[in-house]
């Protein structure tokens, strides 16, 4: 067990050295992957551990995007302050809508969060300070290594947070809420507070990711900042890799982004088609994610693939 942390540290160091070892294209690619891994990990806190599958984390992403953009373009603040403001907006939103929206469960919760994101996008598109429908243009900077290291640092921070959750009393409470919220309540878990905390943590990392992304791509508008397809992508990555695990979402994000990019660079229409097929097949054979599959096959061999189907079919 001592080997694992060592390997992880090694992996992080190697990743951190990419700007030195790799070229610019790989770095840009890497930034994309790292940011996606972060938002998948952030989703994991609420979706994987607490059992509340949000389909509206794009709301926090968008708030983070606009928070940084407004701070930098309208108020002339430096990047790091922009990120602070981004985080502030994300967490504030989570705390404000958390209590009412977390009263909903299952599909209703998913849809309400989706609605939240769409509504926020519409509101922002009406604000002058946000540039209305045209969006905002951030100061241009070509410092790819900076964005890369920032994204990596954010991913590490998010993953360390999830690792802490997996070992803490707080995390145990979240798991209890996921497994049986009513039982968790009578056992003393302050479910409302815990759920809102999970939402706030999720919002925090997602918003900062949005902020980094904003400065990196320089141009933002309501449609791309609050892009609803982000939600499905982050959910798929977290689920593919393994919800409720520490490394699952990261692995899922890495693999799926690579797969998608590889496919896209060859034949673009067929790429999307194959991507859809990959998802369908993945859900059938690994309903609890890659991580669980890895452990299952390790223990039971390839028959485990069929065992999943047998367990989940009608």
């Amino acid at each position: 067990m001592k080997l694992r942390p060592l390997l992880l540290v090694l992996a992080v160091v190697l990743l951190a050295l990419l700007p030195v070892l790799g070229d610019e294209v790989t770095m840009q690619y890497g930034i994309d992957v790292l940011l996606f891994a972060t938002i998948a990990q952030a989703w994991n806190i609420l979706g994987g551990f607490t059992g509340y599958a949000s389909f509206g984390n794009s709301a926090f992403y968008g708030l983070g995007t606009y928070g940084t953009a407004i701070a930098m373009t309208q108020w002339g603040q430096p990047f790091w302050l922009g990120l602070v403001f981004a985080a502030f907006l994300g967490v504030a939103c989570a705390l404000l809508i958390g209590v009412p929206i977390l009263r909903l469960r299952g599909h209703y919760f998913a849809i309400a969060t989706l609605g939240l994101s769409a509504t926020l996008a519409a509101i922002i598109a009406n604000l002058d300070i946000a540039g209305r429908n045209l969006g905002l243009v951030l100061p241009l900077t070509r410092n790819e290594p900076m964005f890369y290291e920032a994204s990596l640092a954010l991913l590490v921070a998010a993953s360390l947070t999830v690792a802490w959750i997996a070992r803490s009393r707080f995390g145990m409470g979240l798991l209890a809420i996921r497994e049986d919220e009513d039982a968790a309540q009578v056992m003393g878990v302050s479910t409302t507070r815990y759920k809102v905390a999970a939402l706030a943590l999720s919002a925090f990392f997602t918003a900062i990711a949005g902020g980094i992304h904003a400065y990196w791509i320089t141009f933002i508008d309501p449609g791309s900042a609050f892009d609803l397809t982000l939600n499905v992508r982050m959910v798929i990555m977290a689920m593919f890799g393994g919800p409720g695990t520490v490394l699952g979402p990261v692995v899922g994000a890495f693999i799926l982004t690579v797969v998608y990019q590889l496919l896209a660079s060859s034949i673009s229409t067929a790429a999307a088609l194959l991507f859809g097929l990959v998802i369908v097949v993945a859900v059938i054979f690994m309903p609890r994610g890659l991580w669980d599959l890895g452990q299952g096959i390790g223990r039971f061999g390839p028959r485990y693939l069929l065992q999943n189907i047998r367990m989940h079919r009608l």
């Binding site: 769409a118 998802i279 369908v280 189907i309 009608l314």
Partner: protein
């Protein structure tokens, strides 16, 4: 007068929206599956009617039953051999797999039919009926009427037939229904097929009042979501009513607020409704 016209437009289109949502709510209520590929099924229905019309010269309204049969078969197969495999796993998995299916169907359609916009233009496409100073396009009126008829047929199926009783029993309590001899695999597949058939009909009608493209699916899925929740998952007429409400809201919003906000309006309404409902009534997971 303009206001009355707006209302008329909203109501007519709203009936069609209600029909779209009907298929989704049936599947949701009985199988507890939120079918993200629902819009893609609507799209397939649209292409079906389009090709029956342009290829074989069959009148679009007459082609509807054929499209419905085709889509029933598609839905049956999808549920029986794909969705069935994951139906007892986490709720999220059915969402994801239907998402994957949506992607697959959309891009298959693009490869097969190209991304060109298709419209279904029967000879009477431009005809209007003038009623009390309001102009009602014949095609839209026909679509509205068809939507109502199909909703009524679905109600009759659910309330008055043996199959309908089996479906409702399964929706309420799968274990009990099994004890009474219902074969859940078959029943689920039939229900999904029915939902797909309704989607197919909606698609054909949509092609008459708007256009058919491979990408039309996701926006229509989203709209059906909203209506299904508003109308409640039990009552076909409630759903059609929900559709009409959305249709009206869109028509009014387009004039008074701006066309870019129609989706946001529906979603905003939805969030408010969900959040304002007393917590007790939403204990279903």
């Amino acid at each position: 007068m303009l206001f009355a016209q707006l209302l008329a437009n909203g109501v007519l289109l709203g009936g069609l929206y209600g029909l779209m949502a009907l298929g989704m709510s049936l599947v949701w209520g009985v199988l507890n599956i939120v079918n993200l590929a629902h819009g893609a099924l609507i799209m397939l229905g649209g292409y079906c009617v389009y090709f029956l019309f342009t290829g074989l010269g069959i009148d679009p309204f007459a082609a509807l039953p054929i499209a419905m049969l085709v889509l029933f078969a598609v839905g049956y197969v999808l549920q029986r051999f794909v969705l069935n495999l994951v139906i007892r796993s986490a709720l999220l998995n059915t969402l994801l797999i239907t998402f994957g299916l949506e992607v697959v169907l959309t891009y298959c359609a693009q490869l097969a039919f190209s991304a060109d916009f298709r419209t279904i233009n029967p000879p009477y496409a431009g005809a209007n009926i003038d009623l009390l100073g309001v102009t009602l396009p014949v095609v839209r009126l026909g679509a509205f009427a068809t939507a109502l008829v199909l909703a009524a047929l679905m109600w009759m199926l659910l309330e008055r037939t043996k199959l309908g009783r089996a479906i409702r029993a399964t929706a309420q309590n799968l274990t009990a229904a099994r004890l009474y001899g219902v074969d859940p695999v078959q029943l689920y597949a039939i229900t999904f097929g029915l939902g797909a058939a309704l989607a197919g009909a909606a698609g054909g009608l949509y092609g008459l009042v708007s256009q058919v493209t491979p990408y039309m699916g996701s926006a229509l899925t989203a709209k059906s979501f909203v209506i299904a929740i508003m109308g409640g998952l039990e009552n076909p007429f409630g759903i059609v009513l929900g559709g009409v409400v959305i249709g009206l809201a869109e028509a009014l919003a387009a004039i008074y607020i701006g066309p870019t906000f129609t989706d946001a309006i529906s979603f905003g309404l939805l969030v408010l409704i969900l959040v304002a409902r007393p917590a007790r009534s939403l204990q279903v997971t």
